[in-house]
């Protein structure tokens, strides 16, 4: 006697079908996160408004820095500052993602997702997808602002595309750190407390000024700060022709951040599942 065939609807879905289903979940959760960012000004302000204001002040206030003898050859100080603004924006996008995820944990949304038949990592991946989108928006915004106010992108269209790609990857990398922070902190106000730290790390890198012109001990710290690699890699296509080395170094810096963020996220997710 042969067993009756199992109806198609009761069969376990294949790998490809499961992947498609998870991709849909990640896409939906990502869309929800992007909509959330646009609905709540407190999520969008740190990514767009504050870095833009800071860019404006830095450019007008310290613009004469290009007259310093050791300052690198640039078309204008705005060109030099654009990379710092984008870096600041993507780091703050990571913190905003952390706050949003912590709020989801606080209101029980994540616990409901745990009970749903979806992969545990999907809600983190959804949030990361949204952070990547915010990174793309940030890159386009700052490149547009730069061009409108007279900056040159020496690397041309290819250079601009490299900058956008690096900003998106960087936002995703800082998104992993944000996810780890939210999973461990579990409270939005604790996640919010990380904002000042973002500025500390930025000031101790070459994000806003050439490394050789920073005062000690910031100069020495900036030499070892992976953020300096990312800042210099983002800046290179804007202030000079596109070259491989700074781009690869930026990718290396992003990989360091993403590696640390992913390891901490996995750790945070595991302890969250155990406590759920």
């Amino acid at each position: 006697m042969t067993a009756a065939p199992v109806p198609a609807r009761l069969r376990a879905p294949g790998f490809a079908a499961r992947l498609r289903s998870e991709a849909r979940v990640v896409g939906e959760l990502g869309r929800r996160s992007v909509r959330q960012a646009f609905r709540r000004p407190q999520f969008l302000a740190p990514i767009i408004i504050f870095p833009t204001l800071f860019l404006a002040v830095n450019t007008g206030g310290a613009g004469r820095a290009v007259d310093l003898p050791q300052f690198p050859e640039v078309h204008g100080f705005l060109d030099f500052q654009l990379a710092g603004a984008m870096l600041q924006s993507t780091m703050l996008a990571g913190v905003s993602a952390a706050i949003a995820l912590a709020l989801d944990i606080e209101i029980g949304f994540i616990d409901r997702l745990f009970a749903a038949p979806i992969a545990r990592a999907s809600f983190v991946l959804g949030r990361l997808a949204a952070t990547a989108v915010m990174g793309a928006i940030s890159a386009l915004w700052f490149l547009s602002v730069g061009l409108v106010f007279g900056a040159h992108i020496e690397g041309g269209v290819a250079g601009a595309l490299v900058v956008i790609a690096l900003v998106v990857l960087n936002a995703t990398a800082f998104g992993t750190l944000g996810a780890a922070l939210a999973l461990k902190a579990k409270s939005a106000s604790t996640a919010q407390g990380i904002f000042p730290l973002v500025f500390v790390i930025l000031f101790l890198s070459s994000a806003f000024f050439p490394e050789n012109l920073l005062l000690e001990p910031a100069r020495t710290i900036a030499e070892w700060n992976p953020l300096s690699l990312i800042a210099d890699g983002l800046r290179d296509p804007i202030i000079s022709d596109l070259s491989l080395r700074p781009t690869l170094e930026a990718l290396g810096g992003i990989a360091i951040v993403a590696g640390i963020g992913t390891a901490l996220s996995v750790w945070g997710l595991r302890s969250r599942i155990q406590n759920a």
């Binding site: 000004p41 302000a45 830095n58 007008g60 206030g61 604790t190 910031a218």
Partner: protein, 260 residues
């Protein structure tokens, strides 16, 4: 009730509201962090980053930290004022402020209690800044310079708090916090915050020239980069009086409208 008793009641109500505002530091420490910590971080960070600007011809001091510390005073005052607005927005959301509006306390007393708490709270970031600054080698501005700087920072915190009150009464939600913070952020930094007027470039050169906060900043700064003089003091006091007149009137108007 005699006029004297009325004044005593108003003073007690104002003091109670001020104490409540100060208690917010312990109740909602997250809201106080930007006002307390951020100015110190900015002072140290900006000194490390832009410290070499003093090598430009025409810069008015050899040590950038002397130039930037007064910006931290006003930044601390501004963020403290904005935090007052955020706290008021939370009180509105929770319905607590409606109960205050229904009380017999005059609107002016409600405003005074709210904004004067910011003037007291600003002592926290300013003290921390001064301690960090002195540890990093800031020139002591003299007793007169320090007292003047404290007085101007406390008054500026009250003006920033009035701005926070106006925004809170208009939007009635904490979601308006970025508007409060961005407003005061611009007011303080769109001045001679990074460099003397002659060294500013582009649009900031013109904006700083007409921004009244520039005069207040220069008055706070004078003791740190030179001697305290009446010539550098009165424009700051005048600018502060003008800003106070405008923002107190607008804040009172928004409170009175809300009551109606």
């Amino acid at each position: 009730m005699s006029a004297m008793t009325g004044i005593a009641y108003d003073a007690r109500t104002t003091w109670s509201l001020m104490r409540r505002g100060i208690n917010e530091i312990a109740r909602v420490p997250g809201a106080a962090i930007p006002g307390v910590l951020a100015p110190s971080i900015f002072m140290c960070g900006l000194t490390a980053v832009f410290g070499n600007l003093t090598n430009l011809p025409g810069f008015t001091t050899d040590e950038y930290i002397n130039f930037i510390l007064p910006v931290g005073f006003l930044q601390g005052a501004a963020f403290t004022g904005a935090a007052t607005g955020v706290n008021l927005a939370r009180d509105i959301e929770l319905g607590w402020f409606d109960r205050l509006l229904a009380s017999p306390a005059p609107r002016g007393v409600l405003l005074a209690g709210t904004v004067l708490s910011a003037s007291l709270r600003v002592l926290m970031p300013v003290t921390l800044l001064m301690m960090v600054g002195l540890a990093l080698g800031v020139s002591f501005p003299g007793v007169d310079g320090l007292l003047l700087a404290l007085f101007l920072a406390a008054c500026f915190a009250a003006v920033a708090a009035c701005y926070g009150v106006i925004i809170a009464m208009r939007f009635k939600t904490q979601a308006a916090a970025p508007l409060m913070q961005a407003g005061v952020f611009m007011a303080v930094l769109f001045t001679t915050s990074y460099a003397p007027q002659a060294l500013l470039t582009g649009w900031l050169h013109d904006v700083a020239k007409y921004n009244p906060v520039t005069q207040i900043l220069e008055a706070v700064r004078q003791g740190f980069v030179g001697d305290v003089t009446w010539a550098d003091t009165w424009p700051g006091l005048l600018a502060l009086a003008g800003l106070a007149a405008v923002f107190v009137s607008l804040a009172l108007r928004s409170l009175r409208r809300s009551g109606q």
